[in-house]
Amino acid sequence: MINGRNLLVPAGVRDFLPAEAAALRELEQKLVTCFQSWGYQEVLTPAFEFVATFQAGSPAGDEDSLYKFIDRQGRVLALRPEMTAPIARLVATSLRRETLPLRLCYCAPVFRFEEPRAGRQREFHQAGVELIGTGSVAADVEIIALAVEALLAAGLENFRLGIGQVAVTRGVLQGLDLPPEIVTRIKVALAGKDLVALEQIYSEYHLAGPQRRQLELLATLHGGAEALAVARQEFNQTGALAALDGLVQVWQALAACGLERWLFIDLGILRDFNYYTGIVFEGYVPGLGMPVCGGGRYDGLLGQFGYPCPATGFALGLERVLLAREEGRGPVRDGGYLVAGRDLAQVLRRAGELRRTGARVILDGESHSRGEAAARAADQGLDLLWTDD
């Protein structure tokens, strides 16, 4: 069956060879250790669930990107496209009686039917956290500070985290008092950073003066504390102002912790408008065309599972982190012993003793002489233990 389907894998999925698998597992372990040291407890959820769980307004729950199938009772199931919705379901059911806030983390493969591109496979690995049950400034600060620490733990150094606030954008758009169909077009253009479409909207609807200036600022405001000061001056509507003040507080707290060097403000970062409700952020690494992590506040999701409460979180794309570190190969696990001899029982016993000391031990019951075993050991970079002496 050469050239048959049994030798291929479908587009968008891949094997991890030993060095790649080792790099991925090492990364996962570092991240989970980092999350746990901040008090986040790991949870596991099923690889597939009822499709309704993922349709609950989650960002990746877009119908077309779900892998769906039908169980024997005729119910529609789907592979998880992300972990936030399953965790929201789990919190709204099994953890409902727990004291809030809850700190949970995960590390799991997820599945999306998308065109495979660099850093975008159909099966990919995510590690992330959810902080559920608090809408405080402290929670937003904690999540962003943890994101910085997670990226450092992941071995990235040159990254920057861009912070936006969708409630500012919402507030400004409301304050402009435009018809809903224009607002929808503006939202689409803002979310896709289509500045040409925005220009067209300005001239089509004769938007000028402060209206136009505010929209331009929403699309392009970028920087640090000075950018926030500009926004504070320009957006004097009440809706945007409360959200903006929250963002200023979060920024000041993060700056006071010395995290400013990793961060910038960009009101153009919106992620998914219909899902996120407050501060959102994305992590970028030079040379990688897509964000390595993303997240934000999603106060509306838990309510869809009958347990209304605020929440925030983020996820890292592990393949993207590995790509950013340019590591095709991870740490090669070498060193250790080759235990060889003609008496297999003796080989097994000596190997067991050595392993109890923590050593890595490989068995060799096939070499007929010390010389042959020594050659094998040298070939694999191992120390030889010949048991027939």
Partner: protein, 228 residues
């Protein structure tokens, strides 16, 4: 950004000539840059800039993956590529239109109505299958898309397709092949696009270049603009 070089992806061909003219008007280095030359990479270390000469359809790909920070590409190519990039400036030159065209006789026989035309014939030849499919889908018109790589006007003459979706600038090619425009889809000009990550983290380096190109584009376009 490679090292400290800002990388700009430029299209080969006619659009590339317009792009280079615009670079000059914007005060960016352009001496010796030729979109038809064998040389594919032009580096200007003093200005901290590097140009990649790509096939027009590949410009969105280079930018999306971050191999280039910025790119100049036609809106037609950009829509067809469906790439996840930021569209920053309408550069004004390279004007053309996407249209549906049909053989004149067939169009007249159909009483000049698209629905009638599609009643018995629904094969559409095009270089732009994504644009064509979106146009017909939005109107609820089922068609069979045939992807070709050039000389689309040949397809109806040879009986391969009943309609074509193609870009036209003057419409002369259509007339010469006895085809008539039966529906406009949208019009296109060159756009400045940016990689979404680079635009955010290299903002200080990119902004002056983007502003210079925007200004050059608004100050009377890039020479041979056929903008109406």
């Amino acid at each position: 950004m490679v090292g400290d070089l800002l990388t700009l992806a430029l299209p080969k061909g006619k659009l590339g000539e317009g792009a280079i003219q615009l670079l000059r008007q914007a005060g960016l280095p352009a001496s010796g840059v030729d979109p038809e030359a064998r040389q594919l990479v032009f580096t200007f270390p003093a200005a901290g800039a590097r140009y990649l000469i790509c096939r027009p359809t590949d410009v969105p790909t280079y930018v999306e993956h971050g191999a280039a920070d910025l790119g100049i590409v036609g809106k037609d190519t950009l829509v067809e590529a469906g790439a996840d990039v930021f569209e920053l400036v309408d550069l004004g030159f390279g004007y053309c239109r996407f249209v549906v065209a049909a053989p004149r006789q067939r169009w007249e026989a159909a009483g000049q109505a698209l629905e009638n035309l599609l009643a018995g014939s629904r094969r559409v030849a095009t270089k732009f299958p994504r644009v064509a499919a979106a146009f017909f889908q939005e109107r609820g018109l089922p068609v069979e898309i045939i992807k070709l790589h050039g000389n689309i006007e040949l397809a109806p003459l040879a009986g391969l397709a009943d309609l074509i979706v193609d870009i036209v600038s003057t419409g002369r090619t259509l007339t010469e092949n006895d085809l008539v425009e039966v529906a406009p889809i949208f019009s296109s000009t060159a756009r400045l696009i940016a990689n979404r990550v680079s635009y955010r983290i290299n903002s200080q380096r990119l902004r002056p270049v983007i502003d210079a190109l925007r200004q050059a584009a608004t100050q009377g376009g890039a020479g041979f603009a056929t903008n109406p």
